[in-house]
């Protein structure tokens, strides 16, 4: 199934991607952000907070935004 995936880590990007049916939010996060902890990110599906075991649906918009980013001077 196709999703809109928005990754606000690194340089940031938004792209339509294919994922397996019944992929949960937790599994998606682990696959896409192996170096981040879920607690250090805001995960939104269709702009709403979600439970980790929620299954993604075709056409969903999932965004991942790190909450720990280093500023500079």
């Amino acid at each position: 199934m196709k999703l809109l995936y928005i990754n606000n880590d690194g340089s940031g990007f938004a792209d339509h991607i294919e994922v397996d049916e019944n992929t949960t939010v937790a599994a998606f996060f682990t696959e896409k952000m192996p170096e981040r902890k879920p607690g250090d990110c805001l995960i939104r599906v269709n702009r709403q907070p979600v439970a980790p075991d929620q299954s993604l649906q075709p056409g969903d918009r999932i965004s991942i935004t790190p909450t720990k980013l280093e500023g500079a001077a």
């Binding site: 928005i6 606000n8 880590d9 690194g10 340089s11 940031g12 990007f13 938004a14 805001l42 939104r44 702009r47 709403q48 965004s63 935004t65 790190p66 909450t67 720990k68 980013l69 280093e70 500023g71 500079a72 001077a73």
Partner: protein
């Protein structure tokens, strides 16, 4: 929650702004620029041939270097033209903007709009970093004169760094956030019209601390700033001038050579005789000179205050001179003495 008319008005504004920003570049102008640069390059090639024919080696070398630069510009312009042939992504539609604004409200609790200033504002929860309470911050997005990438950060209950009123957060100076590793994703989010993500990324910087790159390290937040040289220090790492109360770092803290009181360099003067640095209380003006206690005395013969020339002799110059003259006068007995045979 924003009232619907206000929300829809903002949706229209944002849609118009992003539609304008994502308009296709002016390809006609780009072609014309490219042609003029190519014409100039051809002219330079002719001048190079002429220089070579007349054996003007320096001129030829200069022209070749300049031609190289021009041709590299051509390469960049061709690349830009190539990009311009790809149709730009359509700007986000109004439904998208409605979703962005509703998400912004859901994430931050409230969104306020200052129409006159063209500013959209949200507020964070109070930010406490390493035990330092910096208070809540407003994150403001302005769509006025500074383009679509302008975020301001305003401390709502400012707790600025000691001596730095404009530093209200280790990564904020004035109202400008130095976004560090968030700069790039903020830019991308704004380019794509993901306004809520951009606000969240700004917040992610505000709730974190990077001790390796801060305007003022949190360890020194409540510390002092050396009044003399501007260096910052940890609390209690140095004293203050006993005369003017200026806070001093270890390098700028000095002491009177005579009484040892702490002084800043500006509150010490050199003794005109020995050049020791002394406080104004220890220096006195004697015979037109500013001298320390070791370099002045009271003449035991006449009682006048005097500058001490000889450490073993407290007499003033006049008394020393008088005594010297006296010792050189012939004694009357000696003068009257006539050798007897």
């Amino acid at each position: 929650m924003l009232a619907l008319p206000e929300l829809l008005r903002l949706v229209r504004v944002l849609h118009r702004l992003w539609s304008r920003a994502s308009a296709a570049p002016d390809a006609g102008r780009m072609w014309s620029d490219l042609e003029s640069v190519l014409d100039e390059a051809k002219r330079m090639q002719r001048r190079i041939r002429l220089a070579a024919r007349h054996n003007l080696q320096h001129t030829e070398a200069d022209l070749r270097a300049e031609l190289g630069r021009r041709l590299r510009d051509v390469t960049a312009q061709v690349a830009e033209l190539g990009d311009a042939t790809v149709p730009p992504d359509p700007p986000p539609d109004r439904r998208h903007w409605l979703g962005e604004l509703r998400q912004l409200e859901a994430e931050f609790g409230a969104v306020t709009i200052r129409w006159r200033d063209r500013v959209l504002r949200v507020a964070t929860e109070p930010v406490v970093l390493e035990g330092v309470d910096l208070g809540p911050f407003a994150i403001e997005f302005g769509w006025g004169g500074r383009g679509l990438r302008a975020f301001d950060v305003v401390a709502l209950e400012p707790n600025p760094a000691s001596g730095r009123e404009d530093t209200v957060h280790p990564h904020v100076e004035g109202k400008r956030l130095c976004a560090g590793e968030a700069a790039e994703p903020i830019r991308t989010a704004l380019d794509e019209g993901r306004l809520a993500d951009a606000f969240l990324l700004v917040q992610s910087v505000l709730v974190n601390y990077n001790p390796h790159s801060a305007y003022v390290p949190l360890a020194e937040w409540a510390g002092f700033r050396c009044t003399h040289c501007g260096a910052r220090g940890r609390p209690g790492s140095a004293g203050s001038c006993d005369a003017c109360d200026a806070d001093l770092c270890g390098d700028c803290s000095d002491a009177c050579a005579h009484c040892s009181d702490t002084r800043c360099p500006g509150c010490l003067e050199s003794c005109d005789r020995c050049e020791d640095r002394c406080c104004s209380a220890c220096l006195s003006t004697v015979a037109g000179q500013r001298v320390c206690p070791d370099c002045r005395t009271t003449c035991p013969s006449c009682g006048t205050r005097t500058v001490r020339d000889d450490p073993d002799d407290d007499r003033c110059p006049a008394c020393i001179r008088a005594a010297t003259e006296e010792s050189h006068e012939p004694e009357p007995e000696e003068a009257a003495c006539v050798p007897t045979v």
